[in-house]
C-alpha cells in the first residue's frame, strides 16, 4: 500500500513540476529572521536585484523569471522544509541558504530532487559531501585561508599568532581551516580564544590576546562582533596587527567600528572597494535601490543569479539537470557573462575559484595591498 501511495505522490509531483515551467521559477531560501537575518537579507536583495535586471532585459531565453521567497528562520529544520516546499512548487534552481548549518541539511533535499542549489555558505564541508547539485557563490574557507596564511608568513613574517573566533559553525569552520594551515607555514598559535555568538563585551578577549605575546591576532568573527572587538582593541591599545577575512574588514565593519577599523587587514574574496568598475557600479545601484551598502553576501546573491542566467542560455533550455551538469568544470568569464563581475570557475565538487585580494583598512577605506591568484 505504501508503494502505491508513494507512486501516486510521485506522479502528482512530476505533473506539477512539468506544468510549472511556463516561466522560470527560482526558489530563494534564505535567513530572513533569526540570527542570520542580516546576511540572508543581503543575499536575498542581491538575487532580487539581478533578476529584476535580467527580467528588464528580456528574461532568460525570452522567459520571465519569477522568484518565490522562503524564510529559513536561520533554523536548519525549517530550511529543510522550505527547500522541500520550493521543490514541491517546481523551481528550476535554488539560491541560498547562507548559514552553513542550514545548507548542510537542506542540500540533501535538493540533491534528492536533482535541483541545482547556489549557496552562500563558506564552510569547507559543503563541497566535500559528493553532492553534484551544490554550487558555491564564494569559495570555501579552506581555499581562502591558505591564501591568507601564506601571505601572513611570507610577506609579514608572522611567527606567533592569537586566534579569536566565534564559537559557532561559521567560526569553527574558519578556525579549523586556520589551525590546519598554520603548521605548513611555521606559524604557532599561542592563544586560542573562542567567543559567543552575539557577544557584546569583548574586554576579556582583547586582554587575553594582548597579553599572549603574539605577533598578530587572527580574528574570525561575524561583522558586528568584529566591530565590537576592534573598538575594544583600540581602547586597550592592543598594538598588534589584526588580520581576518571579509567579516573583519567589510564595509559594514568599517561603518560600525569607525576609526578603530583602521589598520585591520585581511583577505577578501569579494569587495565593493575592489578596483573593478563592474563591481563598483553594481554596489552603487544596489545602494540606490535598497538604501544600504551591500556586503559580500549581496554580491554572492547577485553573481549567483547571473551565473544561472548565463549557463541556462548557454544550454539553450531551462533544464535543472542540464544546468547542474554544465556548471561542473565551468569557467565563466566577464566577457561572456558581465553579471558575474569577475572571472570565475567551478570544479567537479561545486567549489569555486576566483581571484581575491589582500586589503588593509586605511582612513576608513579598504586599500588593496595584493591581488592573490585563484587556487
Amino acid at each position: 500500500m505504501f508503494k502505491t501511495l508513494c507512486s501516486t505522490a510521485a506522479v502528482a509531483l512530476a505533473l506539477s513540476a512539468t506544468s510549472a515551467l511556463a516561466e522560470v521559477k527560482i526558489g530563494s531560501i534564505v535567513e530572513l529572521s533569526g540570527a542570520g537575518a542580516a546576511a540572508g537579507t543581503n543575499f536575498r536583495d542581491g538575487v532580487h536585484m539581478a533578476f529584476e535586471e535580467i527580467n528588464a532585459a528580456g528574461g532568460i531565453l525570452g522567459e520571465q523569471v519569477s522568484i518565490t521567497e522562503y524564510d529559513s528562520q536561520t533554523d536548519p529544520q525549517v530550511s529543510r522544509a522550505m527547500v522541500q516546499k520550493a521543490i514541491d512548487d517546481g523551481v528550476y534552481a535554488i539560491t541560498g541558504t547562507v548559514f552553513s548549518s542550514s545548507t548542510i541539511v537542506n542540500m540533501l533535499v535538493a540533491q534528492q530532487a536533482g535541483i541545482p542549489q547556489f549557496t552562500g555558505s563558506e564552510a569547507p564541508k559543503i563541497t566535500q559531501m559528493n553532492n553534484p547539485y551544490i554550487f558555491r557563490t564564494a569559495f570555501g574557507s579552506q581555499k581562502g585561508i591558505p591564501k591568507m596564511t601564506k601571505y601572513m608568513a611570507e610577506e609579514m613574517g608572522i611567527k606567533k599568532v592569537a586566534v579569536v573566533w566565534a564559537n559557532t559553525e561559521f567560526g569553527k569552520g574558519g578556525h579549523s581551516a586556520f589551525v590546519d594551515e598554520v603548521g605548513n607555514h611555521g606559524i604557532e598559535i599561542i592563544a586560542d580564544i573562542p567567543t559567543e555568538q552575539a557577544q557584546t563585551d569583548f574586554s576579556a578577549d582583547v586582554l587575553k590576546a594582548k597579553n599572549s605575546g603574539a605577533d598578530a591576532v587572527f580574528v574570525y568573527l561575524t561583522e558586528e562582533e568584529s566591530a565590537r572587538f576592534l573598538r575594544e582593541a583600540q581602547k586597550q591599545s592592543i598594538g598588534l596587527p589584526m588580520i581576518g577575512e571579509t567579516t573583519l574588514i567589510g564595509a559594514k565593519v568599517i561603518e560600525l567600528a569607525g576609526d578603530a577599523a583602521n589598520g585591520a587587514m585581511g583577505h577578501v574574496g569579494l569587495t565593493a572597494d575592489a578596483d573593478i568598475p563592474a563591481m563598483t557600479d553594481m554596489v552603487a545601484r544596489f545602494t540606490a535601490q535598497f538604501k544600504y551598502t551591500p556586503d559580500h553576501n549581496a554580491i554572492k546573491g547577485y553573481t549567483a543569479a547571473y551565473a544561472i542566467k548565463c549557463v541556462t542560455e548557454k544550454n539553450g533550455k531551462v533544464d535543472s539537470q542540464a544546468l547542474a551538469d554544465a556548471m561542473h568544470g565551468l569557467k565563466l568569464t566577464v566577457a561572456e557573462c558581465p553579471g558575474v563581475l569577475m572571472d570565475v570557475s567551478w570544479d567537479e565538487t561545486g567549489e569555486m575559484s576566483r581571484e581575491s585580494f589582500f586589503v588593509e583598512v586605511q582612513d576608513g577605506k579598504q586599500t588593496i595591498k595584493a591581488v592573490l591568484p585563484p587556487n
Partner: protein, 324 residues
C-alpha cells in the same frame, strides 16, 4: 454521548490517516513536524496546564532525546531501543532537576529550567568529541520495522502518527487514572487537596518528569525526521516556542497543545502573503489572545460557543465535544 465521542475520535484518526495522501513532500514533512511538536507540547501541558509549573526547558529535553537517539542509531542500535533510553533519561533528568527546584515554591522551576536549557546548549556545543559540536550530527538512519523501512516521507509520517497516537493514549490514560485526576483537585483547590492527603510536591515533580519524558520522545523522532541535529535547534528560544504552543492552544485542555502546535507551525504558511511581517502579526495576535482569552484558543472557542448557546442546553457535553 459516548457514541458521539467515539465517532468524532475515529473521524479525527481517519482524517490523520488520509491527510498526507497525494500531498507533496513539503506538506508531509510539515505534518510530521506538527505531530512531533504536538507530543512535546502535550508533555509540557502536563507540567504547565495540569500541575501549574512553568518549564522553560522542553526544547532542552527534546535535545537530550534527539542526541541520545542520534548517537545510538548512528552506532547501529535500533531506534526503538534508542527511543526507550531517550525517554527514560529525560524522565530521570526531570526528577533530578525538579526535586531541588520544587523544594522552594513559586516560579523557581521556571528559573532552574531556564538555566538548565542554556547550560545544556553550551555542553552540546562544547563537548564536540561526543556531540559533534556546532557542526552537529548528520545522517541519522530512519528506522525500519519488520522489514518495512520508513525512508520515504509518507512511511515516516505513518511512523510518526503511530508514535503520536501512542503518546496521546498514554497521556489520556495518565489523566484518567486516579493519580491524574488528583491534578484537577490540585488545580482547583490546593489546600483542600493537601488536607485530603495529596502530596503536592511529589505530584508536581512526577508531572514535570513525565512531561519531560514526552519531550524526550519528540526528540527521538526529530533526529530521524530531520536527519541533522545541532545545538541551536534546542536553545532557549525553542523552549519558549513550545511554551507558546501550549498556551496559545489552551493550557490545561487535552487538545490544546495539538491545536497550538498546528497554529505555530502552520501560521507562517497562512501569513505568507504578508512577507516579512508574519512574526509581527503572529506576536501581536498572541498578545491580543492573552488579553482576551488567557485560556488560549480553546478557551476563546468555548467562550464564544457558550455565548451563542441557549443557557438551558446541556453545556458540559457540548464542551467536551467541542474540544475534539
Amino acid at each position: 454521548m459516548k457514541h458521539l465521542k467515539l465517532l468524532l475520535l475515529s473521524l479525527a484518526i481517519g482524517a490523520l490517516v488520509v491527510a498526507p495522501i497525494g500531498q507533496g513532500n513539503y506538506i508531509i514533512y510539515t505534518l510530521c513536524s506538527w505531530l512531533l511538536f504536538s507530543i512535546s507540547a502535550m508533555g509540557l501541558n502536563l507540567t504547565l496546564g495540569y500541575a501549574g509549573q512553568v518549564s522553560l526547558a522542553q526544547a532542552g529535553f527534546m535535545g537530550i532525546g534527539a542526541y541520545i537517539t542520534a548517537l545510538m542509531t548512528l552506532a547501529g542500535i535500533h531506534w526503538i531501543v534508542a527511543a526507550g533510553v531517550s525517554i527514560s533519561t529525560c524522565f530521570a533528568v526531570g526528577l533530578l532537576l525538579g526535586y531541588p527546584a520544587l523544594r522552594v515554591q513559586h516560579h523557581f522551576l521556571a528559573f532552574v529550567t531556564l538555566a538548565f536549557n542554556t547550560l545544556l546548549f553550551l555542553v552540546l556545543r562544547n563537548e564536540e568529541e561526543i556531540t559533534g559540536g556546532s557542526f552537529g550530527l548528520v545522517g541519522m538512519p530512519r528506522p525500519s520495522f519488520f522489514g518495512i523501512s520508513t525512508n520515504s516521507n509518507l512511511a515516516f509520517y505513518y511512523f510518526s502518527l503511530a508514535c503520536f497516537l501512542t503518546a496521546v493514549a498514554v497521556m489520556w490514560w495518565i489523566l484518567r487514572s486516579p493519580w491524574g485526576r488528583s491534578f484537577k483537585a490540585l488545580r482547583e483547590n490546593p489546600i483542600r487537596a493537601e488536607s485530603l492527603g495529596l502530596k503536592i510536591r511529589r505530584q508536581t515533580l512526577l508531572a514535570f518528569a513525565i512531561g519531560s519524558a514526552f519531550g524526550g520522545l519528540a526528540g527521538a523522532m526529530q533526529a530521524p525526521l530531520v536527519q541533522f541535529i545541532e545545538p541551536g535547534s534546542f536553545a532557549l528560544v525553542h523552549s519558549l516556542k513550545i511554551l507558546l504552543m501550549v498556551v496559545v492552544g489552551g493550557s490545561g485542555y487535552f487538545y490544546g497543545p495539538m491545536l497550538g502546535a498546528a497554529v505555530v507551525i502552520l501560521l507562517p504558511e497562512v501569513l505568507r502573503f504578508t512577507e516579512g511581517y508574519y512574526l509581527i502579526i503572529y506576536s501581536a495576535l498572541v498578545i491580543v489572545l492573552m488579553v482576551f482569552s488567557p485560556n488560549g484558543l480553546i478557551g476563546a472557542g468555548q467562550k464564544i460557543w457558550t455565548k451563542f448557546r441557549p443557557k438551558h442546553e446541556e453545556r458540559r457535553d457540548m464542551q467536551k465535544g467541542f474540544q475534539l
